[in-house]
């Protein structure tokens, strides 16, 4: 695994520009450093992102999500191998906001397998930190930008944690694979309740276990309940055995079919436009946050919180007072 260098020394190799030049030309160490700068919200982060952005757009981002134990990591490794076989340059991002340490360790194994084998067309990165300012979707998108700028044409984003990370990562990618196993009855339950909404493709992994075909039929039935417009995408349900690689080529073909569908209906551009909108909005709110932090000090917050606890101020009244402090020269905000 490429060790993460201290983010504070981007100039050690002759300046940020040189670092980025190397990173975008395919230097793994330079790329790892650039990603760390962005992840750690270093002062150089914005310059890194601004330099990367014009070089993006040449890759496809695929999210892989599902409950723990479904075999996502093995499936991702097989997909990566498949894409490598087709000449694509592949990056894997493992997103684990809940447990930074185990995530990193798990990843270590895979990296030993892959990177030490000396394949320059494969890059693996753990994303443990949640980021203090931006949400997970934003940080994931930013890391994907750097990877695309460095020439990776298939970026596989795997969620390791459960919960909101799945939904946030879904916002950051072009196509979402939901991975389940045949025997988990709550697979269908979970889908009814949330994952069904985000999946573009469904994979029943470990399909050599009993009941796989029946589970697939149940899944298709559940998915069929979704009302859809004529011409809309119907998420396929695929069977794989990631351990052996069975079904992986067909899965990859179906992913391409989905991307083709998005392109044919101008949906890929629409998805990406929506992402850009969300991202810019997020950056504007980060500016508002910084402004608030800069103008309202901790002591003042204490006073306000005490007034709230004693019910002398309501939350809205407190917000109005703080707003006035952060933006003193401004008229009251347009709506009450």
């Amino acid at each position: 695994m490429v060790p993460e260098p201290p983010a504070s020394q981007p100039n050690a190799d002759g300046g940020l520009g040189r670092l980025l030049e190397r990173a975008f030309a395919g230097d793994r160490m330079g790329l790892a450093r650039a990603i760390s700068l962005v992840e750690n919200e270093a002062p150089e982060a914005r310059a890194v992102l601004d330099a990367a952005f014009p070089r993006t757009g040449g890759g496809v981002r695929i999210g892989i999500t599902g409950p723990p134990g479904a075999g996502k990591s093995t499936l991702v490794a097989q997909l990566a191998r498949h894409y490598r076989g087709g000449g694509e340059r592949v990056a894997v991002v493992a997103v684990d906001p809940t447990s930074p340490f185990s995530g990193g360790a798990l990843l270590g194994d895979r990296v030993r397998m892959a990177e030490l084998a000396g394949d320059d067309g494969l890059f693996i990165r753990s994303m443990a930190s949640r980021g203090s300012l931006g949400g997970l979707a934003v940080t994931t998108t930013e890391v994907c930008d750097l990877l695309e700028a460095a020439g990776f044409t298939r970026v596989l984003v795997e969620t390791v944690g459960v919960g909101q990370s799945e939904l946030e990562v879904a916002e950051a990618v072009d196509s979402v694979l939901v991975v389940l196993v045949p025997e988990s009855g709550d697979g269908v339950q979970a889908m009814k309740a949330g994952l069904m909404e985000i999946g573009d493709l469904f994979v029943l992994n470990k399909a050599d276990r009993e009941g796989a075909e029946r589970a697939a039929q149940e899944l298709r039935a559940v998915l069929g309940l979704k009302k859809s417009e004529p011409g809309a995408w119907t998420p396929p349900v695929l069977l794989t055995v990631a351990r052996t690689g069975d079904g992986v080529a067909e899965l990859a073909a179906q992913v391409e079919r989905h991307l083709e569908h998005l392109r044919a209906h101008a949906l890929l551009a629409a998805r990406r436009r929506l992402r850009l909108h969300a991202r810019v909005s997020e950056l504007v709110y980060q500016r508002a946050t910084r402004r608030l932090r800069a103008r309202v000090d901790a002591a003042r917050w204490e006073t306000v919180l005490t007034a709230l606890e004693e019910r002398r101020l309501s939350p809205h009244q407190a917000a109005a007072a703080l707003w006035k402090e952060a933006w003193p020269d401004e008229e009251e905000s347009p709506r009450p």
Copy 2:
């Protein structure tokens, strides 16, 4: 179920003040209307919340979460019955951001059982909408405020959906119950990955099924792995059969023990202070959002998005430009 009245006619009964007077005095229809005003972000919402806030603080908010099919609804009904037996006024809020319709329907059954039985000390409310501005945690907190202002001393907040709703609702309550069933192997998996962090008490429901005691031991072992300070709260693992009510009294006793622990260590006040901080911050950002919407029109957004798509602007550059439009008289924000 109390039908939701149109939010646009708060004055039909003689003004907002009269409506709130009735709501806080225990009138169910008035309360339902006041909640709708807040949920729908009606122009009157802020006045409703400002009036309610000084009356809050007299109740306890308990979150009930866990995977679909664990029996949360039945357990909530049993807890409500238990608290009613002790003379508490009980409100149940079912939070289902993913599927507004099924949530409402599910709730309908319970309401028929409970409310049509004419118990004025029990109020049940579905919260289907996510709210366009505030997050789920904020909306939940606001609805809880209204319920407390109306004299409900036990507010049970049940998450119906899965995913991020669990984590968000956990931020809005004093004590979190995580409900699981004995045979779900991913119970332990799910906990390792996320739910373990938010649970103050763990319930193995349907404990008359085989393997319940063993599952409880496994769960305790997993929870024991968490490093904890001396004197810290160790989440108990309780066995219940919600269908029959077995174990519910003991569960309620343990909830009280947890609240007592929080009070004894000044943690209840700290939790609530943290919530107030988050809520006020959120309201300040809502103001920023409104400002941005008011100052930057759709056509301008289109121009910016096109420039982004064509890679002529980076997201940071776009954010800087929009910020300048929304806050034109202001110096550049303090940090880059």
